[in-house]
Each structure stands twice: as structure tokens, then as C-alpha cells.
Amino acid sequence: MDQFAWLIPTLPLAAFLIIVALTYRFKLLSAIVATSFSLGSLILAISILIQKIQNPKTTETFINWLTITANQQTVLTLQMGYLIDPLAAVMCLIVTLIATLVLLYSIGYMKGDEGFSRYFAYISLFTFSMLGLVISNNYFQTFVFWELVGLCSYLLIGFWFFKPEAADASKKAFITNRWADFGFLVGIIGLFTVFGSFNFTELSAVIGLHQNTLVLLILGLLVFLGPMGKSAMFPFHVWLPDAMEGPTPISALIHAATMVAAGIYLVARGYILFASVDSVMIVIAYIGGFTALFAATIALVQRDIKRILAFSTLSQLGYMMMALGVGSMTSGMFHLTTHAFFKALLFLGAGSIIHAVHDQDIFNMGGLVKKMPITVWTFVIGSLALSGIFPLAGFWSKDEILTVTLQHHFTGLFILGTLVAFLTAFYMFRLIFIALFGDKRSNHHAHESSWTMTLPLLILAILSIVAGLVNTPWFYQWTGMSFSTFLFFKEPEIPVIHWSIAGLSSLAALGGIFVAWIIYAKQHISADKLAERFKGAHTLLLNKYYIDELYGWVFNKGMIGLGKVFNFIDHTLIDGFFDGTATLIRSTGIQLRLFQTGRLQQYALVLFVAIAAMTIWGVR
């Protein structure tokens, strides 16, 4: 089965080419091509995953795409190939599944849009890029697809490019990622220079022999810059909240399966590199933990439904990074998997709501539960899963992360994680109580969406409920295996429930829901008064800690200052020298021209005067 793995990314690529070349004019046909090809990839991904479960042996196939020789010695070999191990198999499934559901959903959501075919072409290209990255067997190929993912996110965030905000957001996403990718590129070039290979398998063998060396520390931090940009870790997080300017299904795709998952996936893929240096792991853990808390606090006060979800994604990505950083690849990837389901569900649900209400401000919604029950109840399931309520998917993965954090003696991060669990539950249920329940707050005519939009919601809701079960002791007892015995770094773990930790995090989540219920549903405590009371903090959070403004200021001042210096060098010094030379020659010419009048008699006069002068001179 593995020999067909290359077909998984190739099918979406084929869909992209077919739409661009043939079916661009036929909108529905384009959508059908994109969805069915993606479904084909999904079926392949499922069969490969089943095969991996039966026989978890890593298979690698590659061709030498480019070989450069100097003095009869091979100095550089670039490979193109695929590496299928449990990690790649799980990731392929997530990406193809989310992509297929998003494509199906988009048929309803994008109905009547001018760029309907273009949209489906881009998503196919996006899926192709992400899958190419997932099955890649070396850093170089990863980098190529990494950039393609960046390009596609640019195209899709700026899908409605005629809106200035969308155009700006797409540029912001692309440029922020460029900064991070620069470090990544330097890092992989460094890896090649030091260890002589881009290949993951070869590198793992070599890096395994080194521990805690300075070179590995530097390279690890440089390579980690790439995932920081793609997964929107602080301080590269600024692009993700703005990325919601694209169509909502795109946000679902970016937030759940493709763009931001790429960063987490790369850390997991190159785990041996990071795990070989303790301080790099600590950096990863604390950046993740900080981002989790940082984003969760911002989400508390936002009004835009997509913005709340975007900050929630940031926060959950922080969780995953933290899990990877404390040394548990399994829990990080497990949370990525469950998060993909419920975050896609939440975004698609939000899309359905926006589609119905034509507004993104949660204070203009309200009273939706009777109008669109499927959307509302699936949204509630997604929120419960995100908050980590037993027995939904989020509970298991969040519990797993908190457990490993404590096991690896990161007590500070454990407390932080529990706090974030409380905040997460609070802001999600603030959103639910304001936007979905309660009274109608504006004159909207909400209605349930069509079946192409609700079917993905239902599928994702079911997955959000059951996906967590694959890493429970019961599942292990029943089937003899679980997520953590399938996908792991070094040692497989048998899932265990730590009731005290689970109880604590559940208590935090329920506490968050309870506080949200008191403030926003029962209104025992006035939210406005709270905002008034903590005015400074509220303003700070509402403005996202002024990070955007800070960056704007730094880059504006810095760039303009630098620009002025270069402008001076270019226009005054360099141009001055060359222009001055030219001016000198020109003015000399103008002066010399006066001597050449073309009047014979003048010449003759000069001639005679000269002869007379010479004669007189000679006589004397």
C-alpha cells in the first residue's frame, strides 16, 4: 500500500491542474472535481493508516532529484521522496479528512461567489502542499512544500483581495512567515553543512550520536524558528488572528489541518534534533506555554466570533508546543489530532452562523438556538471538547498534556496549563451564551444552512466526541493498542488516567463554564461593570497587548530610518558621484563648444594671431 503514498498529494495537485486548465468556467464541476479527488486522497490515507496500524514499519522511497558534483565528488544531492511512518500516516489522515469536509462545506458556503472555481483550485493546491510536506523524507523537500503552504495561505487569506483588510492580512501572514522561514532555511543549510544530509533518517542516525553540543543548540533554535512562524508562536503570532479575513472555511483549514499544523508537525518530525539539546526543549516548552496563556487572555474580551476562535487556536497551539517541549511527542500530536476535529468544527460552525446572520460581532447575534439547531448544538459540542469536558476528545488530549507536563517536572507550566484550561472554558462559553443563546440582539433573519454545510458539522461533531477515546485505557484493553503505543518517540506508553490531574483540569474547565454562565447567561455580575472596574487590563487585552502597534511602530520607524539612510547613500553619495562626473563632462563640453563656431574667418583670425605671436616670440 505504501507504494501508492505518493498519490495522496498528487490527487489534489491533479484536481488543481484540472480546475485551472479545464473546468474553470464550470463552477459546480470544479467543486465536484476538488471534493472527489480529495476524497480519493482520504481513502488512500485511511488505507495507509490501517496498514500502518497492522505493521508500524517505516517505509521510505526516494529518487535523487538533483545531484551536483565537483571534482568527480558528489557535493550535494537533493532527494524527492516519501517517508511513511505512523506520524505521517496520522497527519495524512487529518489533513485529507479536514480538507475533504471543508471542500464539501465550501460548496454551500461559497455559493454565488465570483471566484468559486479559483477557491477550489487554491484549496486543492493548499492540500497538495500540506500533504507533500507531511510525506516528505528530507528537510529540503519539506522546505519547498513549506513555502508552498505559505504561498497558498497568502492566496487564500487574500482570496477577497479587493477588500483592503484581506489584502493586508495576506501580506502580513506572508511577511511574518518569511521572517521565520529565513531562520528555518539557515537552520537546514546549517544541518547540511554540519551533518552532510537533508534526509530525516540519515540525520536521525547522525544526530543521535551528539548530545547537547553548541552546534546542535544553534541549529535547533534556527530550525525551530520555522515552526514558530507557521504555528504562530509568540512573537510571530500576529498573522493568525488577521488570517480570518479569508473565507471562513479557509480559517477552518488553516487553523485545523494545514498551515499551523505544519509547524507542530515539523517539530514532531525533526524531534530528534530538538530532543538532543535540553535547552532547546525548554525554550520550546516555555514559548508554547507563554503563547497558550497570552492568547487565552486576549480571547477573553474579543467581540468578533472568528477572532475569538483564532486566539483560541493560538492558545491551543501553545499547548501542543508545550507538550512537545516538555518531551512528549505523543501528547502534542494527540492534541493536534483532536484539536483539528473540534477546531474545524468550531470554525465551520462559526462560518454557518456568519452565513446566516451576516455579521461577525457576537453581540449582534443571540437567539440562534431555535433558528439553526444543528449548527448551534454541534458548536456546543465543539466548545465542550475544546474546554476539555469528559468524555469528549479535548478532555483526553488536554489531560495527557497536563500529565506529561507534571511528569517531566514542569510544575510552573502545569499550573499555567490548568489556568489556560479555565480561561478556555470561560471564553468559549462567553461566546456561546452571548452569540447562540439568550435574546436576539439584532434584527437578523438566521436560518439553518444547507446539507452540504451541516453534514461536515455533524461528522466533525461525532469525531470531536469519539476521537479522544483512541488514547484511553479502555480502548487499549479492548484493542491492545492506542494512540500512544502507535505514535511515539523512543518508548511507547500505555495510556493511564491520572484521576487527580483529570479532576483538577475538569474542575478548572467547569469553573470557567460556571463563571461564564453567571456573568453572561444569568447576568448576576455585570460584564460592563467588570470591564469598567479593570479598565486598564481590559483595554490592554482588547488591543491584544499592543503587539501589533509595537511591531508597526518598530518596523515603521526602523524601516523608514533605514530607508532614509539608504536613500541618502544611494541618492546623495552614489548618484552624486556619477551625476557629478557627468555634469562635469557636460559643462566642459558646453564651454569647449564655444571655440568651435564653424566660422572660417574666426579660425583664420586665430591662425594669424598665433602665427604673429609665434613670429614675434621667435624674433625676440
Partner: protein, 102 residues
């Protein structure tokens, strides 16, 4: 008694008249006439020097005859140029003949 210096004085005066004519006249024919003046001033010098300094030789006279010959050729050539210029561009004024400037 008329001596060498008288001849030289006449020749110098004639030469200066010629130079003046060449430099100031607008008419190309007058310029050619000025050149003739200058040539003949030189001829007078040659004959005078020949007569007073080396009366037994004819070399000065020989040169003078050569110059007369060359002058005749030069004048005929000059007049031909002036004529053809006149035919082409209807001008004999020398200050308008500036097409060589470019």
C-alpha cells in the same frame, strides 16, 4: 634710392591688407582676393631678397613663379568651390557657410 626695406615695407603693407581682407570680408570672392594679396606680398619679398641679397642667383624668382602658378590653381579651385556653393545654396557670404560646424 629705393632699398630693400622699401620693398619689404610695401610687401608687409600688402600682406596686412590681404589679412584684413581675409578676416573681415563677407564676400567669398573678396576673401579669395585677400589671399591673392598675401601671396603677391610674399612674391614681392622673394624678388626683393633675390635682387638685393643674391643677385647672381635666380632662385627667388623661381619661387615667385612657382607661387604664381600655385596661386592660379588655387584661385581656380576656390572659385569653382564658390560657384558650386552658389549653385547649391545661393550664397557667397562666407559667414553663412557653417555647415562644417556639425
Amino acid at each position: 634710392m629705393i632699398g630693400l626695406s622699401h620693398y619689404l615695407f610695401v610687401a608687409a603693407a600688402l600682406f596686412c591688407i590681404g589679412v584684413y581682407g581675409v578676416l573681415t570680408k563677407k564676400n567669398a570672392i573678396a576673401v579669395v582676393m585677400g589671399i591673392e594679396f598675401m601671396l603677391n606680398a610674399v612674391n614681392i619679398n622673394l624678388i626683393a631678397f633675390n635682387h638685393f641679397m643674391a643677385p647672381n642667383h635666380v632662385i627667388g624668382q623661381l619661387f615667385a613663379i612657382f607661387i604664381i602658378g600655385v596661386a592660379a590653381a588655387e584661385v581656380s579651385l576656390g572659385l569653382a568651390i564658390i560657384l558650386s556653393l552658389y549653385r547649391q545654396r545661393h550664397l557667397v557670404a562666407i559667414d553663412e557657410m557653417d555647415i562644417l560646424k556639425w
